[in-house]
Each structure stands twice: as C-alpha cells, then as structure tokens.
Amino acid sequence: MPTIAMPEPDLGILARASQIIERLTAVVSAEAVISDPQETRAYECDALAAYRCPPLAVVLPRNTEEVSAAMKVCHEMGVPVIPRGAGTSLAGGALPTADSVVIGIMRLRDILEIDTANRFVRVQTGVTNLSVSAELEASGFFYAPDPSSQLACTIAGNIAMNSGGAHCLKYGVTTNNLMGLRMVMASGEVVDLGGPLLGSGGLDILGVLCGSEGQLGIVTEATLRILPKPEGARPILIGFDSAETAGECVARIIRSGLLPVAIEYMDDVCLRAVDAFANAGYPKCAAVLIVEVEGSEDEVLYQIERIRQVAEELKPVEFRTSRNADESLAIWKGRKSAFGAMGRLGDYLCLDGTVPVSKLPSTLKRIGELSKDYGLEVANVFHAGDGNMHPLILFNANAPGELERAEAFGADILRLCVDVGGCLTGEHGVGIEKRDLMTKQYSADDLAIQMEIKSVFDPDWLLNSTKVFPLEASKPYRDKAVRG
C-alpha cells in the first residue's frame, strides 16, 4: 500500500452530491459538468499515478466567468475544490478527494494578446507551455520556461508549480517570467494582479501566487514576459569517468564567469537506458554533461573554447562539440528522451530536490550509498547548473513492498538535500508527495505563517487543502473552516 495518507471524505458533502451537481449545472453549461463515475475516473489522478481517487464531479468551464460561477457554488456549499491544468503533476498536485469538485481550465485556450513592442503575451491559462512559444514563432520571440512536460502542461499548472526547465539557468523560472494574472478567488471573486509593467506600487502578491500549488486561487489568464530568440545555440557533450568529477566541472564552469543557458547531467544508469531507447550514441562513462551556449557563431565558438579549457583540466573522457543542427539534435535527443527511456526499465519515482551546486559531488556519492542500502537502483538525470536534481528510483510496482521501499528511499534523499542546504522540491511542487517532509525544511512557525497566508486567500480552506502542508499541521485550519 502506498504510504501517503489522505483524509476521510466529508460524508455530509457526499450526501449532498446530487444537489451540488444540480447547482453546478445551473451556473455553467450542462456539458461542462461531468459527474458520471465512468467519466470522472479520467480525473482520478495526475502523473503521480500511484495515488487515485475519483472526485465527486468535474467542471470544465469555457471562460473566467464560468470558473467564477462554479467556484461560487462550491464556496456557498462548502465543497472542496481541486484546480487542475493538464494533470501532469508528479507530486499529486491535482489528486482529487472523493468529496471534491475538480475545476479544470483546459478549455481556456485563447492567446489573447501578443505585444512584441512591450515584450509580453497575454494568454488564457489552459494553453500548453509549448504552444505559447509556437504562437510566437513568427515574431522572433519565445517564452523561456521549458519544463520537460511542455508539450502537455498548461500555463496554469506552470504558475501553480513555478515550473522551470532546462534553460532556466539563464532565463529563470516561471516567477521570473510572469508579469500579471487574472484569478478566481475561493469566494468566486475575480481579481487582476500586475500586467505589462515591471513591478507594482504595492505588495508583490503576484510573487506569492506563483508556486502556491492551486491553494490561493484559480488562475485563468496570465501576462507573460517574452524574449527575443537567440541568434543561435549549440550544445556540447562532456563525458567523465566519475560522477564527482562531472559535478566539479559544473561548479568550475559557473565559477569561470560563463553563464551557459543550460547544464544538464546524466549518470551511467541513465546513459545505458537512453542508449538502448534512443540510440543517442552517448559515450559509455560514469557521467555526461550537456552544456548549451547561445549567441552568434563566433560567440558560440568563443564560449565553447572557454568551456573546453575548464573541462580539460578535469580530464574528461570525451568532449564533443556539435558541428551542425543534426549533431545538436543528436546531443539533446538522449536527454530529451531520458524519462521515456527510464520508463522502459520499469516503474520509477522521480524526485526533485535541489542542492547547492557545490554540494552536487558529495550528494551524488551519498545517493549511491543509499541505493546500495535500499537495494534499489537509482538513475540521476537533472539540471546541474542550478543544482535541481531528479534522482529516478527504479522499482517494481508488482513486487510487494517495493513502492514503500522506494518512497522511503526517496524521503531519505530529500532529507539529504535539505541537510546539505538545499530544498525538497525545485520545480515539481510539494503536492501530497512531499507534504509530510515539510517539517524537515520548515519549523512550526515557518509553516504557520504560510498557512495563515493561505487563510487570507481561502478562509474556508476549500482550495487543494490537503496538499503542501502536513495534514496534522493543517488540521486546525481545515477543521475551523465552516463546511456546508
């Protein structure tokens, strides 16, 4: 049995299910409400698929007004709400409870405004991450955050989890590229924050909304900063015969005064899987770095030379530069297919802790030791430039006890991340997955003030309330909230 507990559903709410559905159907179009158990099952989980629970109903509004109307009904009837983007969360951020209504924004798909003179785009948040850049293609601009799930994940989900991606070493994460938003509060009220300005004259409420995991409101529109596309970009592949040396190389590159747009890391377990899956032609060694630099041809060559000088001091087993677009694609191919390739090896848990870059070598070593202790193989593939690790713990879900063992191993790795000065989650969010580890990173007071802030936005604790905070810590807030 998976080890993460969810609270018992509120029987009072379940008893009123038909009234709730009736009232929802009255305020949004009938086809926007799904309550047939056959159909709500499609929303029973996100990408943390070990945890499933169909909701009481699902609402798929077509505009902000319908989101607001549905939210008002839930607020009046005291029904918990689970906001949902594309459901790609790896942390259970979109996992429903049986007494909840899922409000999904995937039908809000309009690009509302593209303004290259002022360098922003305004979109409805159900658009996918990749489609924002696709819409901008002709203008010469792009939207920088590029999470691995960018083909599927929505801007709403990106805002909820403050998503990053491979290129955020240079361009920052969602919060650094979000200028404004329209959100529906727990009361159903619609509020606009920020806009095409570089700041506000008041508190940075936008800043606390970003990364709040659907606990403060449902974001339906966003104003995003866009950037001119670089003249060119080129990856380099550097192979090392030890994980620690690869980690050292990352710190030295950064120390050298260069700022590559990405530094990605893959270890031998991952390299073997990727080679079998994508035939990427990677060297057989302990660890590979993919470093990408940007600029004109001369600028790219200059930076590659500088990186070569830094890397060669550490005696790499291979230093491969791409000579053309095909070779660039080949270098990225393996990295981009890493998660798919790992899936072929069996089940895996994908972790997301961040450590200071200087602690990468020792952390990798310790993860290797823990892997032996737990008897579970681990593959490391991650954004090394910013220390955001993604250890993948391989296990067999059909073998009794292995999921629990993998979860315990994962928890140990995350505790290790905190111990060396890092954090539990760099870009996936806390969700339910890391909820009970929050006390490792934060004191009771640290958590209390965060929960008090949630109460400012959502006094009745209706929005995604069984996530992020340990259930025991959030119980007084959830209990105090008046239900129905």
């Binding site: 008041g202 409420i205 606390v208 200071p356 890391k434």
Partner: protein, 385 residues
C-alpha cells in the same frame, strides 16, 4: 534643498539589536504593547514624517556575510550588511548583483550606509532590470521577524525552490511593513568582462522609444535602455569580441541615427549616473518613480511635461522618472492609477508616497499586513493605508 537633511541625520537609533533573538524579543514586546516602530537598515531612504513611530529600529548591528560561494552563485548576508561590502566581496571574485541596485543618497540628499536588508525591503533595481530582472528575481531566501516576534525562514539558498509559499517575494518591496528582515540569500552573477554604450543624441522621447523597441527585440541582450535630455542610451555587455559584434549589429539596425560609442569606464560612469538618477538630484521638487507600459512612455512624458518639471526614462520605456512641483493628485492623474511612487517628498506630504491600489487588491494587501503584523506596529501608515 527641500529635503530636510538635518532630520535624517538626527534620526535616533535607540534600538539596534545585536542579533535576531534580541530583535525578536523587542518586536514581541512591541506587539504585546502595540507600540509602533519605524524600521531602517542604514536609514538612507527613510523619508521624514512618513512613519509615526515610538522607536526607530535598525538592523545595522546585524551585519556580515554569512556565506559566499562563487561556484554556486550564492551569497547570504545579514540584513545590516553594507551593500558596498557585498559588492566589494563579489567584485573580487568577478561577480556582481546583476539587478544593479541604485544608490538613493544622491537624490535623497541623505547620508548613511545602504544595507542589503534595505535594498531587499525596497526591491531596489537599476537599469539592468530589463535584462537581468529585479532584486526580487535574485532573492533566494529570507529570514525575518514577523509582527508577533516570531522568527521565520522562507526559501533557501538554491535557485530552484518551490517548497511552500514564496514569502520572500512578499517581503521584497514591502518597505518593512510585513517583517524585519534579518538575513537574505541572493543569487550572484558573473560581472561582464566589458561594456560599451551607444549614444543617440538629439532624439525626442518618441524616437527614443522607437530605438528601444527595435533594440530590445534583438538577441543582443541590451542591458540598459535609457533616455534623458534628448539623448537615448543603449548598453551592451559581455566579452570584448561579443560586445564589438553586438554594437556593430545594433549600429546597422539603427543606421538612420547618428550614433557615438562610449566604452568601458566612460560607459560605466554613464550608467552609474543614470542608475542613481543623478540628473534629478539638483531639483528642488519631489521625485517620482513611475511604472509604465513601455510604449506609453512618450505619452506619459508629454502629460508630465504639461505639469512642468523634468522627466527621464529607464528600462526601455518601462520606468519614467519625474521631478516637478505638481501636486500628487495631478501627477497620478497624468500617469494612470497605481503606477507612481513618490521617492522624495519635496514639499508634498509623506502620506502620498505609495499609490492607492484597486479595492480588491487593496483588501488582499490589508489582510496580508494584518497576518504578518496583527498589531500594526511595522512602519504604520507608510504603505497601503
């Protein structure tokens, strides 16, 4: 000078806690008694009369760099650490705070030592904000004492962190109204090897904006785009060959303009002055910092011109500086609601410092203040009343 220098010099420092615990005890007691306090780092930005308080609390004794790891691009410093000390330590390793915080002393005519805590509290960001982001974008974590005297930490020291709510963003730019910062973790970045600037003289605000829109749509990572007294400036930074290449390409793009190139130390000096808004320092009047949509900047300049005074532009049009005698109501009417921050009061009342927010946002802000500071003891009246 309409600014009362003696008032700033005379600001008392009756409470200068030596550490976080002492500060927390003092705040806890003040909370219990509901005695308000004015919060300062080095006191370089406090406007006389802006806060009615019983005590002045300064973090200046809580000073020192806790950790600096150039290879991890991370610096952690106590709130009272002089900004200069941080900049010196970074420069030794070839790094910097990329958001280029301005020094307010010239325009405020103030003395004192700017601190990192004050910088974060006011989200102080200079010309490079258009390319590198604001102070808030480089803030990785905070420690602070809230209005009940609780010591809180949030965020951390790593660049990617979505563990819980991001309170650092709220604290940054809250001007000490939510908590007293005791420690900040900042992202550092490599200093550019060199820089050059394009000077385009004899242009109107509208022509300057055209230049900015064109230059900022290129991939040349223009890191400064400012306009003052008929001259538009563009800055390019990087390694020598890169800067030369980019300057060349920008000159081709702006072929119909007359362009001089200013290099290295001379360029740095130009941007230091633009950053500190030195050109308005001699003005006797109030100084305003106005956020605008870049393409609106020429219209805003025109509207301000009608009021009389002097205006300049930074952030590629996104920031308009204005100094004039006009009353606050007139300035705010001319530029649009919620956008103009009064940085130096001049003859205007200190109650006018911050713009009013729309009612829904104002309600959230007020509730947040009440949560952080239930007794209303931190810089009461400064923001959001």
């Amino acid at each position: 000078m309409s600014i009362d220098e003696s008032a700033i010099k005379a600001l008392p420092y009756p409470v200068s806690p030596a550490d976080e615990a002492e500060l927390a005890a003092f705040v806890g007691e003040s909370h219990a008694r509901a005695t308000p306090m004015c919060i300062a780092g080095g006191g370089t930005r406090v406007q006389p009369g802006s806060v009615e308080a019983e005590h002045m609390v300064t973090t200046r004794n809580m000073s020192g760099i806790v950790t600096y790891e150039p290879g991890a691009l991370t610096l952690i410093a106590r709130a009272g650490t002089p900004l200069q000390e941080v900049e010196d330590v970074l420069a030794e390793e070839g790094q910097t705070l990329a958001f280029e915080p301005m020094d307010h002393r010239e325009i405020l005519g103030s003395i004192g030592t700017p601190t990192v805590g004050g910088m974060v509290s006011a989200n102080v960001s200079g010309p490079r904000r258009i390319q590198a982001g604001a102070c808030r974008d480089h803030l990785l974590g905070v420690r602070f004492v809230d209005g009940r005297g609780r010591t809180i930490k949030n965020g951390g020291r790593v660049m990617k962190n979505v563990t819980g709510l991001d309170l650092g963003k709220l604290l940054c730019g809250s001007y000490g109204t939510l908590g007293v910062l005791t420690e900040v973790a900042l992202k550092t970045l490599p200093l550019a090897e060199t820089e050059k600037s394009l000077r385009i003289a004899g242009v109107t605000p509208r022509e300057a904006l055209e230049v900015f829109v064109a230059a900022l749509a290129t991939s040349f990572e223009v890191s400064g785009a400012a306009f003052h007294a008929g001259t538009a400036w563009l800055r390019v930074e990087g390694f020598e060959a890169q800067v030369d290449y980019r300057v060349g390409r920008l000159k081709e793009l702006l072929f119909d303009r007359e362009i001089d190139v200013v290099a290295h130390a001379a360029s740095r000096s130009v941007w230091r002055d633009l950053r500190n808004v030195k050109h308005l320092a001699a003005s006797e009047h109030a100084i305003w910092r106005i956020l605008v949509k870049p393409t609106d900047a020429p219209d805003v300049m025109e509207a301000l011109d009608q009021l009389g005074g002097e205006a300049s532009v930074d952030w590629g049009g996104g920031l308009v500086w204005f100094s004039g005698a006009a009353p606050s109501v007139a300035v705010r009417r001319a530029v649009g609601a919620g956008r103009a921050i009064l940085l130096r009061c001049g003859s205007l009342p200190a109650a006018d410092l911050f713009p009013a927010e729309n009612s829904a946002v104002a309600q959230i802000s007020a509730a947040l203040r009440k949560t952080f500071d239930p007794a209303g003891i931190f810089n009461p009246g400064l923001m959001g009343n």
